[in-house]
């Protein structure tokens, strides 16, 4: 996405994070679930990259894989996770820990469970600075300052409070304050607004955007909410059933969605439905079984535009515009002109 025409493998220049060919399995009683398959994306320095898709598409697994915090039954089987030039998958636990909470930090989905219930906010916030070499007083001063920046009133006295003293929205602000307090090069936000109600969601998104501008870090923003992504992100990666189906700058993706899945996603987004309809549209069909992913295109069973090559060949990421790529046979340069990508709303 960073360089217009260059393939992602060589786009390390200017990227904080470079995911290439990442595959990830989860062990389950039914067999190995191939949760991510050959996922590539990059997060350029100082930009916000959104990862969107339905629940179950693997976007959270991607976030946890980057953090090295996969559940015990998860295993990366292939690929690279280049972070500031170093492959996270090749680091041992100690080296990983040195990166986590210093260069890399994370905001979790549910603020109600993300903060330790028996430790004070001040303790939580000084604990995470334990490697900074600052004095305790300095650590507390920075914590107070950051709490003020995320909009916690009366921050200094609130350091003595416990997490259960705060509402969900306030707790998520605290989580963001903690994640940014360590001055990371990359912040991973895993659906940070999903557990909050709509008005809070807007506030949190604005907060993230402002702070990101001030601090200049990169953000990988995982969400299933298109509106939030449009509001916040510079680039967008669309995932479906463990694969990247489309990626590009946010304006490109929103104005010219090129993959039928992205189009369907937009069609179902309540915020973008122009006419008042009785029923909220949904994408027909179900997610494919990831224990045995089907051959060919992963979306073929639910795709309205399915045609002959979809069953045989897995579509590569074709160029669809400036820095814009989509994995769909409709975009193949070999296809006769005139039957190009269907536009928005073409149904």
């Amino acid at each position: 996405m960073a360089g217009a025409a260059s393939p992602p493998e060589s786009a390390a220049e200017g990227s904080v994070l470079e995911v290439s060919g990442l595959s990830l399995d989860f062990g389950s009683p039914r067999g190995r679930i191939h949760a991510l398959r050959n996922v590539s994306l990059s997060v350029p320095r100082g930009r916000i990259v959104g990862v969107v898709g339905e629940s179950g598409c693997g976007k959270s697994s991607l976030a946890y894989a980057i953090m090295g915090l996969l559940a015990a039954n998860g295993e990366v089987t292939d690929g690279r996770l280049l972070f500031e030039g170093r492959d996270l998958l090749k680091l041992d636990q100690r080296e990983l820990r040195a990166i986590r909470g210093q260069r890399l930090s994370m905001v979790f989905q549910d603020p109600m469970t993300a903060l330790n219930p028996v430790r004070r906010i001040g303790e939580l916030m000084t604990d995470i600075q334990y490697r900074s070499g600052r004095s305790p007083a300095e650590m507390r001063r920075r914590a107070t300052e950051m709490l003020e920046r995320v909009g916690i009133p009366d921050a200094e006295s609130r350091l003595a409070a416990y997490p259960h003293h705060f509402s969900g929205g306030m707790r998520q602000r605290i989580c963001i304050a903690m994640a940014l307090l360590v001055e990371p090069a990359l912040l991973i936000a895993d659906e940070p607004t999903t557990a909050l109600d709509a008005t809070l969601e807007v506030q949190i998104v604005h907060l993230l955007k402002n702070l990101q501008r001030e601090l200049g870090c990169s953000v990988l923003f995982v969400s299933h909410h298109l509106g939030t992504v449009a509001e916040l992100c510079d680039d967008v990666v669309v995932m479906y059933a463990g694969e990247v189906v489309e990626s590009g700058p946010v304006r490109e993706i929103f104005h010219r969605p090129s993959h039928p899945y992205t189009q369907a996603l937009f069609a179902c987004d309540p915020g973008r439905i122009k006419q008042a309809t009785r029923n909220l549209p949904t994408i027909p069909g179900e997610l494919p079984d990831l224990v045995e992913p089907p051959s060919g295109c992963i979306f073929k069973d639910r795709c309205p535009e399915r045609f002959e090559p979809c069953d045989r060949l897995k579509p590569p990421a074709y160029a669809a515009g400036e820095g814009h790529r989509a994995a769909c046979h409709l975009l193949s340069p070999c296809r006769p002109l005139g039957s190009g990508p269907a536009g928005e709303g073409a149904r």
Binding site: S105, F108, A114, P117, V118, D127
Partner: protein
């Protein structure tokens, strides 16, 4: 929270009242004269009559119960049939021995069981975890008095490392006399604690806030002991309160087998000689102990958990 404690206390008192009433009622329901039962078959009719009057047994049952509870409120648990001493004095004289035994037992059991549970949870499915699990089940299921007998046989009789009987005099001697009884009373609790701590530790380690702590690169030691243990310990504290009741059972055997003074030894002796007031006194004291232990553990639990502390 205070309301909760109030309810617990009322419930506890009700439990004691019901229990004592039931015991007394049984005394009246079983065939035979309670006075004869208490004094034994060899008592003379005059002695029995005098005893009946002294104990209020000539009065109707409900009056007896009312008198009993009224006196109990004043701290009077009746008088010993044989010596004429106050039951309260006799029982309270023995109580410190039992309390010391129980306290020492639970302390060493906690000191060993909690770390074992922690390490089993951290190194799940390791050799340590499997061995701890197996040993836990074993020490939990083998009865305390069998443990006591084997310990006595091995360490006191055969190896002669430790004294076999009595409570000892002076601090060091007493301590030496405590080792075997405290081992037998506490050993099953090492197992209990290891299991409970392991289970709740595994649960806590799977919670999001632990993942978050890891995401911030905190050391595993800090996460386990600073972030997870304070939460994982809470069920154990609750269990400890209930545990006192079970420790009393084990203490009875330890006191008999190691010929230690204590409430357990007292009650066994009293049962042997059909000294009913003493038996009842011991039952009351142990029940009170149980209720108190439960309340204290609830209180400690609340103090350890900031969420509960504030509702105090």
């Amino acid at each position: 929270m205070w309301i909760y404690f109030g309810r617990r206390l009322i419930l506890a008192i009700l439990v004691v009242v019901i229990a004592v009433t039931l015991l007394n009622a049984m005394l009246h329901l079983v065939p035979g004269d309670p006075a004869v039962m208490i004094l034994g078959p060899r008592a003379t009719p005059e002695l029995i009559e005098a005893f009946r009057v002294r104990m209020g047994l000539d009065q109707p049952f409900h009056v007896q119960m009312a008198t009993f509870f009224w006196r109990l409120l004043q701290g009077d648990m009746g008088t010993d049939v044989f010596t004429g001493r106050s039951v309260a004095a006799i029982v309270l004289e023995q109580l410190p021995f039992t309390l010391t035994l129980i306290a020492v037992s639970i302390l060493w059991a906690a000191a060993l069981g909690i770390p074992l549970g922690c390490f089993s949870a951290i190194r799940r499915n390791s050799l340590l975890d499997k061995v701890t699990g197996l040993l836990s089940v074993s020490v939990i299921s083998i009865p305390a008095f069998v443990m006591a007998l084997y310990a006595l046989l091995i360490f006191a009789v055969e190896l002669k490392w430790l004294p076999a009987i009595g409570a000892g005099e002076g601090f060091l001697d007493s301590l030496e006399h405590l080792i075997l009884p405290a081992f037998t009373v506490g050993v099953s609790w090492v197992g209990y604690m290891a299991r409970i701590v392991r289970a709740s530790m595994l649960e806590v380690l799977g919670e999001t806030h632990v993942r978050m702590a890891r995401a911030f690169g905190l050391t595993e030691r800090r996460i386990v002991f600073g972030y997870a243990l304070p939460i994982a310990i809470l069920p154990t504290v609750t269990l400890l309160g209930v545990g006192v009741a079970y420790l009393v059972s084990a203490a009875v055997f330890a006191e008999v087998i190691f010929a230690r003074p204590g409430v357990g030894a007292l009650i066994v002796e009293a049962v042997d000689s059909r000294n009913y007031p003493i038996v009842l006194g011991c039952v009351l004291v142990t029940t009170a102990l149980f209720v108190l232990a439960t309340l204290v553990s609830d209180l400690v639990n609340a103090l350890l958990d900031p969420r509960a502390r504030e509702s105090l």
